[in-house]
């Protein structure tokens, strides 16, 4: 069994067995396969890249090629226990509307994203005066798919303003979990579990 990306491992650990899951931006289906094999989850995926879709389907997963910005409306209300959006929020045109869609389709939603307020990012901008290129944000400003950079505090504000319930939060520095204290400064990555 290949090791999951750390944010995906957190999600995998916290999904209930036998749940119905929609993984939006599922990549080659690594999380879906783990959930299916370890937790008997009925997983469905949405993925924009055709090569990734082909890899996922050839693993026997139910994945459709599509775009989170345009293809979520086809899914009925509350048709999944969890909607998962991992490292995709910052690439969508309207992240706020996407979060609304997640919580329309799923009873709960996992959202993971790279934290744009991590100290290394801040230093890059402050000292270097250049848009940051880091391990989690490896692309330059002109070819990055990340069009809505978000920080942990930004996301918390979105949750608060949307009157959403936050039922879990996890933070990562490197591949290790880190504490809540000063997360907006010290965490490279965040995972939130939300409910309406």
């Amino acid at each position: 069994m290949n090791k999951l990306r750390p944010d995906l491992q957190i999600i995998a650990d916290n999904v209930r067995p036998n749940a119905r899951v929609l993984d939006i931006g599922c990549g080659d289906g690594a999380l879906m396969a783990a959930l299916r094999d370890q937790k008997q989850v009925d997983a469905r995926g949405l993925e924009i890249d055709p090569t990734n879709v082909a890899s996922a389907v050839s693993k026997g997963l139910s994945v459709v090629q599509g775009d989170a910005d345009t293809d979520l409306s086809a899914y009925p209300d509350v048709s999944f226990d969890y909607a998962i959006l991992s490292q995709t929020l910052q690439t969508t045109h309207r992240p706020d509307q996407i979060v609304d869609e997640l919580l329309r389709i799923g009873k709960q939603a996992f959202v993971s994203f790279p934290n744009f307020a991590h100290w290394r990012v801040r230093m890059s901008l402050l000292i270097g005066g250049r848009m940051p290129v880091t391990r989690l944000l490896p692309q330059t400003w002109y070819d990055t798919p990340n069009i809505h950079h978000v920080t942990i505090d930004d996301f918390r504000a979105l949750v608060r303003d949307g009157e959403l319930k936050q039922e879990g939060q996890w933070f990562l520095s490197g591949d290790k979990q880190t504490g809540r204290g000063l997360a907006n400064l010290l965490a490279e990555h965040a995972v939130f579990l939300l409910r309406r």
Partner: protein, 374 residues
């Protein structure tokens, strides 16, 4: 199993029916020409039905008796292929209405003991599927491991899942659609008018003196063939290159390679296909609208479906473009069905589904194998 006379190449069976038809009538008896490949396992759980496209036939993986060419989908069906004849029991039947041995306008009407011609009942895709279900009953197959088809074959495959949801475990639908668009109908009408405008068509009664409307059918094929290719594919293959000459002739001979190619496609088609069958099958495709039978909402067609679906489209296919597959996928998602879908890249337009495509094979192979462990 191999001694069973129902199984093997070039089989033909006359089933009593009657087969009730969407038009209100019925067909009896029902002749079905088909082939099977591989061995049916003890619990008859490894059957894969291949549904063919408009002008294809049951010779999916064996030599065509008229053209001498190999099977039309040997990249997909055969030993070690995604539809693996070492592992699957493969069935492919000529659709009713066609002309390779199944009941159609060229076969004998038992009431008159003459060829049906235009007295043959107008068919639908669902009628073709119901006839295939009769064949499966005859072969002793209750449930299909998979039904697979491209183009019109995909229409049959998807209609299988709504007419007989309990008989289909998995469905693979390639380069297809849940309904015929106005543009699809329009192109077919051009083909039909070309046939019916041929003075030798004579209301479809041309069998007795073996003088069929070949010119009309050839033109129909030429027009249709353009829709199977992409502009980029035609440009790459022919461009504006001239055919066996250095300059334009200032006449109406086939100056351009693309003209020569199309003429060849038309002329060779008439040797293997019946003009009336072309009318009947294109009509069946035009009548196809899966949502119509379900209150106008496609998702209703798949409510409660336990079938696994795999859809594939091609980016240069403008006959059944990706948007048509996506419409089906959205309906499957809305119905909560287990659906996979991918748009593959290929230069060859609609015909891409018939050509070797490693990515398509990888997807179908993985999809079918995953279904075997369920």
């Amino acid at each position: 199993m191999s001694e069973d006379t129902r199984f093997g190449l070039d089989k033909k069976v006359r089933l009593l029916g009657p087969l009730p038809l969407d038009s209100g009538g019925e067909l009896a008896p029902v002749d079905l020409a088909y082939e099977t490949y591989g061995d049916l396992n003890a619990d008859a759980s490894n059957a894969v039905l291949i549904c063919h496209a408009l002008t294809m036939d049951q010779y999916v993986a064996s030599k065509h008796p008229l053209t001498g060419k190999g099977g039309w989908w040997t990249d997909m069906v055969g030993p070690g292929k995604p539809v693996d004849t070492n592992r699957h029991f493969v069935i492919c039947a000529n659709v009713i209405g066609s002309c390779m041995g199944s009941s159609g306008p060229a076969t004998i009407n038992p009431a008159t003991e003459k060829p049906w011609g235009m007295d043959f009942p107008v068919l639908t895709i669902a009628d073709m599927v119901r006839a295939q279900a009769l064949l499966l009953d005859h072969l002793g197959i209750e449930r299909l491991h998979a039904v697979i088809g491209g183009s019109m074959g995909g229409m049959q495959a998807i209609n299988w899942t709504t007419l007989y949801p309990d008989r289909v475990k998995s469905a693979v639908i390639v380069a297809s659609a849940a309904r015929h668009s106005a543009q699809n109908i329009a192109f077919h009408e051009v083909g039909r008018q070309a046939i019916m405008a041929d003075p030798r068509w004579r209301g479809g009664s041309y069998y007795a003196d073996d003088d069929p409307p070949s010119s009309g059918l050839a033109v129909a094929r030429m027009a249709a063939h353009i829709t199977y290719l992409s502009e980029a594919g035609l440009t790459e293959k022919f461009g504006r290159r001239l055919q066996d000459r250095d300059s334009k002739t200032f006449g109406f001979d086939a100056d351009f390679q693309v003209e020569s190619y199309l003429r060849h496609q038309g002329i060779s088609f008439v040797d293997r296909f019946d003009a009336n069958s072309y009318l009947y099958i294109t009509r069946a495709m035009d009548y196809f609208d899966l949502a119509e039978a379900h209150g106008g909402t496609l998702a209703n067609a798949f409510k409660g479906s336990k079938t696994r679906f795999c859809l594939i489209s091609f980016d240069t296919d403008w006959l059944y473009p990706t948007s048509e597959s996506r419409t089906i996928v959205h309906a499957l998602n809305a119905a909560g069905a287990a659906a996979s879908f991918v748009e593959l890249s290929s230069a060859f337009g609609h015909d891409s589904f018939l050509l070797a495509n490693p990515e398509m094979n990888r997807i179908v192979d993985g999809f079918l194998k995953a279904g075997e462990s369920l």
